[in-house]
């Protein structure tokens, strides 16, 4: 199975996302922001970083890139798309997910091992988790505060469109502790924390068992393989 990983200028975690895809047993395919062609991939990841420097607003300039035209159409058609951190911001700027992401409430960039509650498992990227499962993956951002209008929040809560919530610590002031969202079809998921940094023992978050042994992120990538087998 082929999973595309998009590189914009300023993307940072593309190689990490590719590694995660490989460790999950699929083939990563590098996609370039200036090309419309998706090279027949079965799913797409918009990885973390500072695309176009994150100038103006995070993800705003990337949302205008050529490759996004195709991805937006394909996402409406059901293509699984995962936006991680900057990728989540791009999905929001592209209106594939609602709301906005603003400067962290405490005004600092923050890098920490973050606990999340899985709030929805009926998506392309979360079906290998159990509902309500607590997972730990790294979080690292300066503009991760999720905001939305009251009625949007109501809709998100009412329709079960919240994919992840922060547990124990709300690291950035996000409304309703929202860490990640899904669209109504479940093919598009975006979140601020980084599953691709928790896929390889020795390089993930600390766990009770051993330093840096956390691999809770791997299920994101196996989920999409499972989703495509079923589809």
């Amino acid at each position: 199975m082929r999973i595309g990983v998009v590189t914009f200028p300023g993307t940072l975690d593309d190689r990490d996302a590719q590694r995660a895809v490989r460790l999950a047993g699929a083939t990563p395919v590098s996609l370039w922001h200036a090309e419309k062609d998706l090279h027949d991939v079965d799913a797409v990841i918009l990885p973390g970083g500072f695309s176009f420097g994150d100038y103006l607003r995070c993800g705003a300039i990337a949302a205008q890139a050529l490759v996004m035209e195709t991805i937006i159409d394909a996402a409406y058609g059901g293509l699984p798309v995962l936006g991680i951190c900057n990728g989540f911001q791009i999905l929001v700027e592209a209106n594939l997910l609602p709301g906005g992401l603003i400067r962290n409430e405490h005004q600092h960039f923050i890098c920490r091992d973050q606990k999340l509650i899985v709030e929805n498992v009926d998506t392309a990227w979360t079906n290998q988790f159990t509902l309500g499962q607590e997972i730990t993956i790294p979080l690292k951002n300066g503009e991760g505060g999720y905001i939305a209008k009251e009625e949007t929040l109501k809709k998100l809560e009412g329709e079960g469109l919240i994919a992840f919530r922060y547990s124990e610590v709300n690291p950035n002031g996000s409304f309703n502790n929202i860490a990640g969202l899904r669209n109504s079809k479940g093919n598009v998921v975006g979140l601020m924390p980084h599953p691709e940094h928790a896929v390889e023992p020795g390089f993930g978050p600390d766990t009770d068992k051993a330093m840096r042994s956390g691999v809770d992120g791997l299920n994101f990538f196996t989920s999409v393989l499972n989703w495509m087998v079923k589809a």
Partner: protein, 761 residues
Amino acid sequence: MTKNISVDTTKEAKKTPDKAQPWKELGLKQEEYDRIKVILGRRPTSAELAMYSVMWSEHCSYKSSKIYLRQFGEKVTPEMRKNLMVGMGENAGVVDIGEGWAVTFKVESHNHPSYIEPFQGAATGVGGIVRDILTMGARPIAVMDQLRFGAVDHPDTARVVNGVVSGISFYGNCLGLPNIGGETVFDKVYQGNPLVNALSVGALRHEDLKLAKATNPGDLVILFGARTGADGIGGVSVLASETFDSEGPSRRPAVQVGDPFAEKVLIECSLELYAAQVVAGIQDLGGAGLSCATSELASNGNAGMKVQLKNVLLRDESLTPEEILMSESQERMMAIVPKKDLKAFTDIVNKHEVEFSVMGEVIKEPRLYIMWGDEEIVNVPPRTVAHDGPVYERPVAYPSWIDSLKANSASTLPRETSEEALKSQINQVVSSPNQASKSWITDQYDHYVGGNTALAMPDDSGMVRVSEETGLGVAIATDANGKYCQLDPYTGTQLALAESYRNVAASGASPMAVTNCLNFGSPENPEVMWQFKEATAGLADGCLELGIPVTGGNVSFYNQTGDVAIYPTPVVGVLGVIDDVARRIPSGWQDEGNNIYLLGITRDELDGSAWAETIHDHLGGKPPVVDLKQEKALAELMHGANLQGLIASAHDLSEGGLVQAIIESSLRFGVGARIWLNEILERDNVDLTAALFSESQARMLISVGREDDVKFVGLCEARGIPVLRIGVTDSTKELIIQDVAGWTIEELAREHEGTIPELFG
């Protein structure tokens, strides 16, 4: 838009030999100006004057330090050179780490800009050092930062701390380079002159090594990256104001603004150019901008260059030729490209939407010609600009104050013996700004990006995987103790070396090479020059004894507030290699029921200690004794024991002594322990204060699984390393030091982690 700028040409210079020139304002001495005239056989043009003045500045020419830095290349054995692919003198040293891989690393200062504008100063400091690493043909893989700030209670400190930390965070995070460690120290001597040093490390395959050389006549000289603007020109405006009429800009900004996004693109673009093998030589543009890049490339290649300055892409059309030559606009590189490869070069830079311009050609004649349209404005031998600058043997003087400082030992300070008082002192030390957790700072740095970080803050060294196939990796630690160096710069510098060496060994890597950034006061002060002489001798002798070479570094002079110099602060970085990062050692206890051992001997060494500073506000006496043989033995023991998988955790002892190490080991993973000190008191004949707080060297705190005890102790004894079992980890979530104090882990965490956020959060 383009203004008609009247330029000073070589023709004009010949015609008007006696024209008054602002050499003094540009920082040149009379002899230096005279020497330029001798070299050229005429007065310099204003462009030439700009080039010489900046390239002959202390910062670029190392004129006061050169005679001392030489010993780093001289006090070495062939064995030490064995793994050195590129030594001192290039942009950064390159070390062979095996399996066809090499790494390059270097630490550099950006102190003065970081005081004027902390955010941009620190940010561009990171940007600059990363370009140095990129220039060697390497992919940068990590950064570190070494910071010294003023007193925590001074009203200006928060401005500098917040600006510097967010500047480093902004630039490093945006480049996608994990920050894997550093140092943070507060002391009033840095109040008006904070130190912001940044380190970068990069990895490359042997065959990808690049050098800053222009050798082949006919190759093209190409400037690529950001456009050139008026950043960081500062002093050169003197020249501008001379050549400008009244409407010209009178004062150019002295600061540079960094664009990490542009640098990230530049990194990917350069690596693609290297892979396509279309660059014959490459140089980053840092201090002294184009003046430096053109003259160094030509001089290094024993060739010359003819370039057209009007081809430089500008952000601001009003720049004069002198300003263009001096501009320190960031995120620029200069490549030497064979003509046949221009098309391939163009395709790659276009793909990345990076702008470039062909400035000229390499020529055989070792002369640098710079044209401004049809006018020749520079015609110089490049060596005289880049390498044959002035060299000074500045006067040195034994400091008048040092004997009385040394006589004032901390050994006479009052000591407490009651449990209550000792606990209070321990709490004061571990919560003091210098000993407290720096996580408020390090949490602002991304240490995950890249997916290769095996160790980072708060472990003893940062460690990154270089080869994903085999797990081959490198570890780096840096240290400097200004107080020790103030007491005795020779010993103090060796102590910095010893500590970073020990940190690398503690994390399971084998120390291999050294870099340094020597932060000192004014070289024109003979007492400072004496400190510098002692420090460099200490470092060179220490490296020789440990058998690891200095591969490069940086000197920063004139760090002072008014006439008061900072403490000599030579930051020493040690790089080690580990064949598989899976074998790295954490700095904290992970499991219950492990035995805790103290390696090494404790002496009553409290002079210059964290205890003396925190409890008594005292600095005086002699720093701890250095024993590099013992450090080496310790490192070898660690290597051997780790290969056998005997070590569950290791933490070196340094500032704050044993108790600091115990508390940090406990807090790392929140594991409690019971500790006893009575055997230390007996064996080493010291009291409780010394046992807790002494900063004796060559010591480590090790935890070992019960099943490995006999083997581990046997190894220590075989190597002559003093070893004492002083405790055992448990599941109580409490730390108890018998007859001294006890805490819950929660209470300890509050003490250790609360300080910095409260001050700056």
